[in-house]
Amino acid sequence: MMQFVPARSLLPLSGLALALVAAPFLLPNSFALGVAILAILNAAVAVGLNLFVGSAGQISLGHAAFFGIGAYAAAILSGTYGFNGAVALLAGAVASGLLAHASGRTILRLSGHYLAMATLGVGIIVYLAINQEIGFTGGPDGKAVPPFRIFGAAVVGEMQWYWIAAIFLLIVTWMALNLVETGYGRSLGAIHASEHGARAVGIDVAAVKTGIFVLSAVLASVAGSLYAFHIGFITPSEAGFLKSVELVIMIVVGGLGSVFGAILGALLITALPQFLTGFHDYEQLVFGLLLMLVAMALRRGIVPTLATLAARWAR
């Protein structure tokens, strides 16, 4: 039977809610709060991407494109054409969903490195289009985004944005935890284990894969729109290859297929560069070395590795 909150998700979900409520009171200044907002929005994207990559066993090296479409929908529709922010956000989500559906139907037949290449290609095409269509997007110089308005009042200040981002992440996490308990969620795991097997038990593999791709794209798009409204100025790099790679790194480091792994990975990968700025010229070197160390030492990602250790210790 479908429950509002699956029993075994109740504790982790309330733990996340508690951490999200407590965080603003523990963070030292508004800069840290800004980093937290960014981490939370990234976490929402990572949770969605992890359903597609971790649960369904697919690969996307172009997910930043959907984040970028959401961000630029906010900037263009709300900024240039004066639409309400919510309309711009919805339009971006619809556009991302349609692109994911159209491309998913064809490229999701591929697997492994070929799927990686195809998603990379789609992502780079979107990135290059944002770079070239200077009339709409401002090109490489970026574009300003007007403030988000609810009933005529502008959402300003880090605190207001923090609560919007936190509520968004809670909804996404609740949805993801629920989804993996449904028949649809189980079919993702079946596809991951064996596509032929999944088809043999009557799962419409193409439809399930496209569906989860669309869902993860829409989540990335909404997060991108919220990011754009919060930060007030965006550049094409939000849709670029390195941003796509960063998203994949978050879920791999945190733990593939683990909802809380994605959140932890997003938090670490977003916050780490802020700490590393103290290293100045050595920032990239340290970041790269840490990635390599994680890949060598924690092959399954942080959360699944810790979960195994905890289970062994409990026994």
Partner: protein, 301 residues
């Protein structure tokens, strides 16, 4: 009549110009794509630091030249340095992470690429550098098309490298062992082939190939610590286009990509030459999921 003939000649000269420009770039993409394939065949890893090998080769050659070495010595030393970097990557990272999942290995090589960029901006700098053209810059006039001597260098060296690789893989014991590992790793191991050494040779070879590409392209395109990103992606695209692991495929993929870019830039729009390259790849992958010349193993569902 005369005007018409002149116009036809000019169109032909343009066409020839685009062919040569495309072949030059395509030759460099081919070198990157072969680097991808060599490592993929030995380890089943897609090495996202392959573009960084070009950067390391080009940058170290530029700085060795600045230190007073003659161009040829700087180029050879740069190739040796990059081969050593490739071997270090295999020994200190890839060997330890063996058996990890495909995504974790992608994260590993991306981590290596970021590390290389980090090291490059510390030991060198964040500026653009170039090498002098190998034999002057006075363009040659061939049927009305003007050709930079460096273009000829790029194409000829690429041909020599491909021929040498062909001999290496068909005539030497190490090369044959590498092909055996590519065909069936476990069977090769059972036949007494040292799989570890094969992996080490593959990374050294990929490093050297990358450095050759970097040294060749540095006189044409300026090189700096982030040059490897786009070159790596294009090389990966070329490898996938031809079918990763296949050498004829790497050549075909590199040339198709280079010529496609040159003709798009020449006849359509230079703004979208990069985008069109990737669009072609997505379409080719949908139509032929294993690349133009790839083996038709599973992959399409």
């Amino acid at each position: 009549m005369v005007a018409k003939t002149l116009k036809a000649i000019r169109l032909m000269a343009d066409f020839l110009q685009f062919i040569i420009a495309g072949t030059t770039v395509g030759a460099v993409y081919t070198l990157v794509a072969i680097g991808f394939s060599v490592i993929f065949n030995a380890t089943r890893i897609v090495n996202f630091a392959q573009g960084e090998f070009l950067m390391i080769g080009g940058m170290s050659a530029a700085f060795l030249l600045k230190a007073g070495l003659p161009l040829w010595a700087a180029a050879l030393l740069a190739i040796a340095v990059t081969a050593a970097v490739g071997m270090a990557l295999e020994v200190f990272a890839v060997r330890i992470a063996r058996g990890a999942g495909i995504l974790m290995l992608i994260v590993l090589t991306i981590g290596a690429a970021i590390t290389f960029r980090g090291v490059a901006q510390i030991i060198w700098d964040r500026n653009y550098h170039s090498l002098p053209a190998f034999s002057g810059t006075a363009p040659l006039d061939i049927f009305g098309a003007s050709i930079a001597p460096q273009s000829i260098w790029v194409i000829v060296v690429c041909l020599v490298v491909v021929a040498a690789l062909h001999l290496f893989f068909t005539r030497t014991l190490v090369g044959k062992a590498m092909r055996a590992v590519a065909a069936d790793r476990d069977a090769a191991y059972l036949c007494g082939i040292d799989v570890n050494r094969t992996m080490l040779v593959a990374f050294a070879l990929a490093g050297a190939l990358g450095a050759v590409g970097g040294v060749l392209i540095a006189p044409i395109a300026l090189i700096h610590f982030e040059s490897g990103i786009m070159l790596g992606l294009k090389g990966f695209a070329a490898a996938m286009l031809g079918g990763i692991g296949s050498f004829p495929g790497a050549i075909a993929g590199g040339l198709v990509l280079g010529l496609g870019e040159a003709f798009t830039a020449g006849y359509l729009t230079s703004a979208y030459k990069d985008a069109l390259a990737f669009l072609v790849i997505v379409i080719v992958l949908i139509a032929r999921p294993n690349g133009i010349l790839g083996k038709s193993t599973a992959g399409r569902v």
